[in-house]
């Protein structure tokens, strides 16, 4: 029976299989064939012996990582920053897309879109330079506070302010760019629904909640699931540009910690092990999110 099904399916979908053949071939050649490289997480990689020839060390690198004095702290910081970004950064571009959608002037709409998306293209070093400038003891933010009688303080030297600064600047830099996908999704909403709602006397706020949001929900869901599969990936570049030892307590994440270790030693295998750990956790989170989403609102990755 199983065999029959396979044959019948193949006959029926021959053309589809032909279409996806280059895609599958691509993934096999450029993703699955090189994947043996992940083995170095369990080896002591040396470039001359090659990946397959290097000595096995089993779980040593994982053990080193988990038993580090700072493991709990960096894991916690990573998760907290990720969670904050999920709560505050994830909805921001959706809100922006909704706002832009409500603008009637076409020119203003375009200008708003084009300008808000620009900071995404400015290199991180410059962005972080601007952030440092603004948050300095004599920076513009502090000068504003001083007008209201507060004392100026170097904000990036306050552990409790690191995460807000990090998240807010993330939103600032990425909101426009990330809203594009939602703006595109908005285009496919049936315009007749709005007309009907208007005739029924629904306010624009109501229209947003009953027509617009449901219309882009599939996109939001997919983005959310993918975001969940990225929880442990807090990149080190921005962190190391903004943190300093006083804020390690709230700012030091897995990637920045591994980066510092890389300064002392070429840790190919170690960082590969950490990467593998991240991937496994991320994958688990993605699968969970997908499962829940499938139960709750029927849209899911698979």
């Amino acid at each position: 029976m199983g065999k029959n099904r396979v044959i019948r399916d193949f006959k029926l979908n021959k053309l589809l299989y032909l279409m996806i053949l280059p895609v599958i071939a691509y993934y096999i050649i450029f993703h699955y064939i090189p994947m043996y490289g992940a083995l170095i997480a369990f080896k002591d990689y040396s470039p001359m012996k090659g990946i397959l020839g290097s000595d096995w060390v089993g779980l040593k690198h994982f053990h080193d990582f988990f038993s580090s004095y700072y493991f709990t702290r960096i894991l916690k910081n990573t998760l907290v920053i990720s969670l904050y970004s999920l709560i505050f950064e994830f909805p921001a571009p959706i809100i922006l897309a909704l706002l832009i959608n409500e603008v009637r002037s076409k020119t203003f709409k375009r200008v708003a879109q084009t300008i808000t998306y620009m900071p995404y293209f400015i290199s991180l070093v410059v962005i972080c330079g601007i952030i440092t400038d603004f948050t300095n003891a004599d920076g513009i933010i502090n000068r504003l506070f001083m007008l209201f009688g507060y004392d100026g303080q170097a904000m990036l030297q306050k552990p409790e302010l690191f995460r807000p600064i990090y998240i807010l600047s993330e939103i600032w830099q990425r909101i426009g760019w990330e809203s594009i996908i939602y703006i595109a999704a908005l285009m496919s909403i049936d315009q007749e629904q709005y007309e009907a709602a208007r005739i029924d006397g629904a306010t624009r706020l109501k229209q947003i909640f009953y027509i617009t949001l449901p219309g882009i929900l599939p996109t939001i869901t997919i983005m959310f699931i993918l975001r969940m599969g990225n929880m442990l990936n807090v990149g080190f570049e921005k962190i190391i540009l903004l943190y300093n030892p006083v804020t390690y307590n709230t700012a030091d994440v897995i990637s920045s910690f591994v980066y510092r270790k890389g300064l002392l030693e070429f840790g190919w295998s170690y960082s590969s092990a950490v990467g593998l750990f991240n991937s496994v956790v991320n994958l688990a989170l993605l699968v969970t999110a997908n499962y829940i989403s499938r139960k709750v609102n029927k849209s899911s990755l698979w």
Binding site: G37, P47, E237, N249, W268, N278
Partner: protein
């Protein structure tokens, strides 16, 4: 969506970009004495090579193009120095240049591909996992001992005359692995120290500070009388102890931020009582507003603007990148402004500072190794030995006579083509076109290059002032942990460095009391500091018995 660039290795890969920036001063401590020491029993002298060598072979050469020439020349073959080098030695070369900033990656990929050029210019100590010993063991580069004996008389003679340097350029087991870059004079090994506004001192009637008390007085006067908002500031990116860890200020208390040696024993600075006193001093200064309020986030940009705007009167910096860069800036605002190098501070007037910035004679960058796939290693050795001959030394440091330098009373003087370039190239760029004196390579660097290169008298004086330390005596020579111990050492030190940086700044900024230091001492022990010291000690012992 960039975040999705998968690949567990990407962390390590991108990391190297920033790692490169900090490697400069990051070393645990390095030192040497230029012994112009005893003549080792001379073996039979190798036959001197006559240049140009007659050969019909072309050798391949892999090496990074000097950063000063990016945007000026596309590749080595277009650079007059490298054209002339081939003519002088008679050996035609074929060059490959890895992209700037991607040298390590390109090198590793080259190893993986299995195809090597004849010669590679690479930092085997800093950028090769396992170090040079391993590179030889695993069959990538050639052990040069015999080849140097037979075909490199110039280098051999230099190393025989300088046994201290000889010790540095070989591995623990005594193998030569590359043609080294050697800073031929003490003058070339010191380039960093405290810098201060001389005009302010004069105006306030203060002497150039020598002791910590002098410094407190000067900084206080800067703050109160000159209105300096950040009397002392220095770059603390990417690490707080970037410039401050070598011994500026903390050297007065007899410690550095890293390892050093006392009577042949390895000592770790941050666990000494002196380190606590240093923290107490900085804490006091910070609370009184003598140190930049933003010190933990101060980067080169903010230091530059503070100095230029007169918010800062003292810093820690280089003769070139500090004084050379800031002098025109402060002058623009105040024509009378003068920045000078102040000596490394001490506690008691008249003492010699224990520490200060001091590089080893042997710098591991710019060294050239010969690979196991070299078609004609003998020829390569003969060609590379040129840089250590008298003629070759002049060529590497100053270029071609009549073009880039002229002999004036036996002193090779750079021409205006280099120092006042008609194409508006900066001297550093113009020199790199015709010579390698201003950066590195397989030769012995000449003091006379630096004397002409420092445009300002204050720069030259600064180097002299900074030189007066005992750093050479106490600093560690360039030692390397054995390949087996390297990863253990890195794991321990990563935790300990995190701990110390965090503790130090918290105490300085006043978030924790000075006495928290004692608590941290216990933590350091529990993080296995003793094991790290043991590994360093073993490496030092191996070095001493080279």
């Amino acid at each position: 969506m960039k975040k999705w660039v998968a690949g567990s290795l990407s962390i390590a890969l991108m990391g190297t970009m920033l790692a490169a920036c900090s490697s400069n001063n990051d070393k645990n401590g390095e030192s040497t004495n230029t012994g112009n020491g005893g003549n080792n029993s001379a073996e039979q002298p190798a036959e001197a090579t006559t240049y140009p060598i007659k050969t019909d072979k072309t050798l391949s050469y892999w090496g990074e193009i000097n950063g000063q020439l990016i945007g000026v020349k596309e590749s080595h073959k277009d650079i007059p120095f490298f054209q002339e080098w081939q003519k002088k030695t008679g050996v035609p070369l074929e060059f490959t240049e890895p992209p700037t900033g991607q040298v390590k990656e390109a090198f590793n990929v080259m190893l993986a591909s299995g195809k090597l050029p004849d010669m590679v210019e690479y930092n085997f100590i800093g950028d090769f996992p396992g170090g040079p010993e391993k590179a030889i063991q695993d069959g990538y580069i050639v052990k040069l001992n015999d080849l140097i004996d037979k075909y490199a008389p110039n280098l051999k003679k230099y190393l025989q005359d300088n046994p201290d340097i000889d010790k540095m350029v070989k591995t623990d087991s005594g193998s030569y692995y590359a043609f080294p870059f050697i800073r031929g004079d003490e003058y070339l090994r010191v380039f960093q120290g405290p810098i201060i506004r001389k005009d302010w001192l004069d105006e306030l009637g203060l002497p150039v500070p020598e002791t910590i008390d002098d410094w407190t007085a000067a900084l206080t006067a800067f703050k109160e009388k000159k209105g300096a908002a950040a009397p002392l500031t220095f770059n603390s990116k990417p690490r707080f102890f970037n410039d401050g860890g070598n011994g500026a200020f903390m050297g007065a208390f007899g410690v550095t931020r890293g390892f050093y040696q006392e009577d042949g024993k390895v000592v770790f600075g941050p666990e000494q009582e002196g380190y606590k006193q240093y923290l107490a001093l900085f804490r006091d200064w910070y609370s009184k507003g003598l140190i930049d309020k933003n010190i933990a986030t101060a980067d080169t940009k903010s230091v530059d603007s503070n100095i230029a705007s007169g918010a800062t009167g003292a810093s820690i910096g280089n003769a070139g990148g500090g004084i050379g860069k800031w002098q025109p800036l402060v002058e623009a605002k105040d024509p009378k402004a003068v920045l000078i190098g102040a000596p490394y501070p001490v506690l008691k007037k008249g003492d010699t500072p224990k520490f200060g910035q001091h590089n080893t004679a042997y710098a591991s960058e710019g060294t050239v190794a010969i690979t196991t796939q070299a078609k004609d290693p003998e020829l390569a050795v003969q060609m590379l030995d040129y840089g250590y001959s008298e003629e070759g030394g002049l060529f590497f440091n100053f270029g071609t006579e009549g073009v880039s330098y002229n002999m004036k009373d036996g002193y090779p003087t750079y021409t205006d083509l280099l120092l006042k370039n008609p194409d508006k190239l900066a001297p550093a760029q113009a020199i790199s076109l015709y010579a390698r004196g201003s950066y590195n390579g397989p030769f012995v660097q000449d003091k006379r290059y630096a004397e002409q290169f420092f445009a300002l008298q204050t720069q030259r004086d600064a180097v002299t002032a900074w030189q007066k330390t005992d750093a050479a005596k106490y600093q560690l020579p360039p030692i390397t942990p054995s390949p087996d111990e390297a990863s253990e050492y890195a794991a321990i030190m990563n935790d300990i460095n995190t701990l110390i940086d965090e503790m130090s700044l918290k105490i300085i900024l006043g978030t924790e009391p000075v006495d928290a230091f004692d608590k941290y001492l216990d933590k350091m022990k529990s993080l296995n500091l003793d094991r790290a010291i043991e590994i360093q000690q073993a490496a030092l012992d191996r070095y001493n018995s080279r």
